[in-house]
Symmetry: C2
Subunit: 317 residues, 2 copies
């Protein structure tokens, strides 16, 4: 068979990453274009298509590309549309993304959101290879999720299933979330959530911490401080891990997965998060699941992961 390559596109708010990928998950060639310079979708798609064609040519895979997989905020697998994506200037209205790109490239296009793409990527090339039931949690600026049941991503009735970042982690006096709700998991356990915990705790106590000397705090600063043994920073990760683990216990009651797979910037703090996460998960789940559900970390190289995830969608086309 000739069609032994796929193209993966990761549409982010600032840039869009494009890669040509083989069946083993090797990124043969990659490139990047800006996303944020376009207010309309048509010129953006035109440049994206040009970049894809050029990359296919350069990588010597002309005529051998089976299809294109796209991971994008609010991407809907069923309809191929992006809508209400606040971080995409051209994606705030409903945009027929898959259709437009298919027309421009004359290749089949599959679209889903970034976390679902990450789940497919992990199942195809990464830590979830061989797993039929797992939950992917992406710990980035927000908390995303992709749920796999019987080897298939769960899209639900409308294509938007798997918004576990917006399940309620804290019921009373929970933090206000960008989505309009309060207490969402994302407000505690994303990179921004961790920074928010740091700012809150610094204000509420007099506990000494190297974080006090910083003008503004990002989750990376909390991580660096924890690595240096800063007690407050360590407690912040313990708190974050505990909230994650408690929520995982509820997710397990839903789909009884083999594993929870973690990915994203914050997942790098594995050394500080893993133990409190596992403890809270096992304390809060039913007896039959205690100690049975694995927490594993993505095995994909972070620079390639978004492209790989998106590309993996295209194998199913």
């Amino acid at each position: 068979m000739d069609s032994s390559f796929v193209v993966g596109i990761d549409v982010g708010g600032q840039t869009s990453k494009i890669g040509v990928v083989d069946a083993r998950g090797t990124v043969l060639a990659q490139t990047v274009i800006r996303t944020d310079t376009y207010e309309q979708v048509e010129p953006y798609i035109a440049e994206l298509a040009e970049a894809v064609k050029k990359l296919i040519k350069e990588s010597g895979t002309e005529g051998k590309v089976r299809g294109v997989g796209v991971g994008a905020p609010n991407g809907n697998y069923y309809t191929g549309t992006i809508e209400n994506a606040p971080n995409l200037l051209w994606g705030r209205q409903r945009v027929e993304f898959a259709k437009l790109l298919n027309k421009a490239l004359n290749l089949p296009v599959a679209l889903t959101n970034d976390a679902n793409a990450a789940a497919v990527g992990e199942m195809t090339y990464g830590a979830a290879r061989g797993m039929k039931n797992f939950i992917m949690i992406t710990l980035g600026t927000g908390v995303g999720s992709g749920i796999v049941i019987n080897g298939e991503v769960v899209y639900g009735h409308d294509g938007f299933a798997g918004e576990l970042g917006h399940t309620t982690a804290v019921r009373n006096n929970g933090r206000v979330c960008g989505c309009g709700k309060t207490g969402c998991l994302e407000t505690y356990c994303s990179a921004t959530g961790v920074a928010r915990t740091a700012r809150e705790w610094l204000e509420l106590s007099d506990e000494p911490s190297v974080l006090r000397s910083l003008d503004s705090i990002a989750s990376k600063d909390v991580y660096e401080a924890a690595k240096d043994g800063d007690k407050l920073a360590l407690k912040i990760f313990e708190f974050t891990g505990k909230i994650l683990g408690r929520s995982f216990a509820d997710f397990i009651a839903f789909s009884a997965p083999e594993a929870i797979v973690l990915f994203g910037g914050l997942a790098r703090a594995k050394e500080f998060l893993l133990e409190p996460m596992e403890n809270a998960m096992n304390e809060n789940c039913l007896q039959m699941w205690k100690g049975k559900v694995k927490i594993v970390f993505s095995q994909l190289k972070e620079s390639d992961a978004a492209i790989l995830g998106a590309s993996a969608l295209a194998w199913e086309l």
Copy 2:
């Protein structure tokens, strides 16, 4: 085709109900045997098989039965076993239920837990006909659930998925649950949970209520009191509905269902539960789902529902 009937068996702690069912969901004949007089599984299976054979004969469906579906506490679809079922004298150890019954009847047997059976029943004959994505919640002595995604019941990695009654509804100072956890949905929103709320509230306040005159309170008493306009009883259902609705919002974030389908004794209090449930659900879910997910009530006759649910499993054999 000759095989146009199925047998449904609902294994309860006290009795086991057996029915012969046609493709339209008509129960042609039914009977019942005791469950609680057997300490060993073998004599129970022997009597069960006898009763099934007799019923098939009486209903004139000999040679036309496609298979047998069984709904039982802790029934595992994958393995056909029942294990750790506290309410079954013979089911506290691991029991090869499907295998034993298959041997005794020489018919294919499918087994799952009661809530999953209810979900399949509702999808085959009831309120969820035509739905591919819904969540069945059974409000009985406990809170059970059966989750349907893409037209299939979710069994998960180990066959035990869908324990939504044991997700955490109240995080701090939650009620102690029989499962060993605290704050489980079941401790608030089952029939026993409603009675518990009544007892708690009567003790905590001096509010007048007809419930004060009762020696012991069951959820049925609270329902009767609410029908008579008792304010405390009405508030109890409002509270129960609110907790259910808040949890439903989290379930929606998981699988984006078309509907939540309610079944069981407590679901009869629809008139008092529906509004607070819908309000809490819509207040606590993401914008895109507000007002979109239906809450519907089982359409199966309660006396037939358990048999129908179990029988529906057998069509897939």
